[in-house]
Amino acid sequence: MKCNFSFHMYSTRWTDEELDTGFLFFRKLITMIKLLQTSVILCLSGFLEAQNFEYEVNLKSVTFSGDDMYTIRQDDNTGYIDDFVHWEDDGTINPSAFTSGSNLKAQASIQFVCANMPDEIFVRGTGPEGIDFPAVSAAIAGDIISYPATNADQSFEDDKVRYFENFSILWEWSIDNINFYSAGTSMSPIYVTWKQAKPESAFSGYKYYLTLFDLACRNADGASTEDVFIDLIWQDFTDHSVFRADGVPMQYYKDIFSPNVTLPNLIKYADGECYTWAQLFLACLKIHGFSEPNNYMNITADYSSTGCGSISRFLVKTWNFGTPSYDCTDMPYVNVYSPDYYDADTAYIYDYAEVTDEIGVMGQTEINPASSFGNHQIAIVNGKYYDGSYGVLYETFDDIKYGGLSGWSRSETSDEIGIGIDVNGDGDLDASPDFTILRATPDLEMADFDSNIETW
């Protein structure tokens, strides 16, 4: 940035009235003083006039700090977001996060190129919503002037979630602390949490990942009560498009047998099982300092006894029940898993199937996610059941069964003789090899869900 400046000259002039006064000595003394003053001013003006040329001013970097600033982790869990610089003129932008009510500190570095560097330069910053940084005499070293880490003259509002996609600060400089000139504008994202975030924990996988701040604050910007930010964050889950901070959509079972069962893996790989989605929602609330005991529910079939064995699994909508073989009356449908069933990518691999998976309940960024389970995981918040995997909120526990299921099932080891079906089509029933089968029934009244509750 180049700026032109000019300075006014002082002058001294004698009047006739002054020469006619009787106080000649005093007048002479005054004259002497004025002459001396004029000489000094002339010298100074000569210095200043010598600087009446183009200055080059460039905002180089800005760094935020503060007692309540979070150390944010990279989403791939390889380290931390750089908090030594939050904006740099080479294009570097790093987000930062703070607790509401805290005071943001900023320091800035400005390159100031001129032939004769002034002895003193003032710098100030004008941020959004009255969060300004007062004019301070900056340190000068070579052609770099440094605005010291200085508190904003206004804190973030208490108990209010904020998300500044671009926390923009106009940085200005001045020689006389009166007339200020632009040095440039810094912009970087700033997240402000409702309360102090719950501390990280070693085993839960809950850590201060960037995506957690992004989801928690971006969605709940402006919220000042628990109910509001819980609802606003949840709304993001309901459209089945939850994005990582870098814009990558996170999926529920991109891989039908996804091995990602922890929150760090969901964020890192943008794909995960129900465990991770329940944890993601709860983690967003923890970022705002909200957490309740008994907030994490594991759901299983209740192992109701049938003539075919106990019911241990369930099928989430939608499964098409075709023609049953009635190998077993209570659970008349049979599927036979392929020996390489665990290599399935986006669809189940059966060597024989009487019940087939169809598009049903949409999951996060996945129109037809995995839907045959031994258990499922959801979050409980304020007595309501939040199923983050599907973005569905249930008011009562019973709603889960009737809202989500196509049927009940169980798995067991068997063979062709055991199920009375010639699976390999060789014209007879073989006693070997063993294979894993799925027995199923569409009768939802044959079992119920059990649940166990933990604290996450």
Binding site: F257, N294, A370, G374, T436, D450, E454
Partner: protein
């Protein structure tokens, strides 16, 4: 200031992780061979090697079983080994898991070599295979106790039975698998502030609770000694060659370039 916080957080995290040691619960020595299980991710890796050779030279096998690493209270992997078969309760967090098939018995010679990373196959096998002994004790206890922040379990395998100990809400129930069916004990009061470990010796089953109090199970649960040490700082060495049971500091096995024998002799 912030850097200090980061350092403190790092040390807290590191300490928490270290507090459970490298291996899960115990190391078994039998026929001059040691057996230990490390959890990587959620699933187990069985180490087995000669007690006179550096532990690092041990063979590593992928166990199709494991445990979650998430509970408020740490619950180490429950496993035992008898007649060249590994027994385990699979308690991974995986949506294909069924509680009923969570009790696993896997011949060691059926295990795959550990490839260096966990994979879907290992989790799927943990969900679907090797579960002939149905784990009704766990199913029923989880039906009985809805809130399970303080759920802990372990088991021992003898030549003729399996004895599974499950504690929740300061209550312990003991289940015995014998003659192809599970029997159930009365309920015993039992502190559930942390995990406990079970082991067999002298034809009885013993429990060491979180505070290091020792119990023996002889149809009744009898306390043998009161608080001795925090169990989370210890690892059980079950030396079946010498018929000895020792609880030693888990730190002893952080460096694995020495043999088990050397490590134990230097204690």
């Amino acid at each position: 200031m912030k850097n200090c916080i980061v350092i403190i957080l790092w040390f807290s995290f590191a300490f928490t992780l270290k507090a459970q040691g490298k291996f899960e619960r115990k190391i078994i020595i039998e026929d001059s061979t040691f057996y230990a299980v490390e959890i990587i991710g959620q699933t187990g890796v069985l180490w087995t090697g000669n007690i006179n050779e550096p532990m690092d030279s041990a063979a590593h096998f992928a166990l199709p079983a494991g445990t979650k690493r998430r509970s408020i209270h740490f619950l180490p992997f429950a496993w035992d080994m008898r007649n060249d078969t590994v027994y385990a309760v699979n308690f991974t967090e995986y949506a294909q898991n069924e509680r009923l098939s969570s009790f696993k018995s896997i011949p060691i010679n059926k295990l795959d070599k550990f490839s260096g990373q966990n994979n879907t196959k290992q989790l799927m096998q943990a969900a679907f295979e090797n579960g002939k002994i149905e784990n009704w004790p766990l199913v029923n206890m989880l039906k009985k106790y809805k809130y399970i922040d303080d759920l802990f379990f372990d088991f021992v395998v003898t030549d003729s039975s399996i004895i599974q100990f499950i504690a929740v809400n300061n209550e312990l129930t003991i289940f015995t698998w014998k003659n192809e069916m599970w029997g159930k004990s009365e309920i015993f009061p039992f502190e559930t502030s942390g995990f406990f470990t079970a082991y067999a010796a002298d034809n009885y089953q013993y429990l060491m609770n979180a505070e290091g109090a020792k119990f023996v199970y002889k149809d009744k649960l009898l306390i043998l000694s009161s608080v001795t040490f925090p169990l989370e700082q210890k690892i059980l060495i079950e030396n079946r060659d010498e018929n000895t049971i020792k609880f030693i500091d888990y730190h002893a096995f952080e460096i694995t370039d020495r043999s088990i024998k050397q490590i134990l002799e230097q204690l």
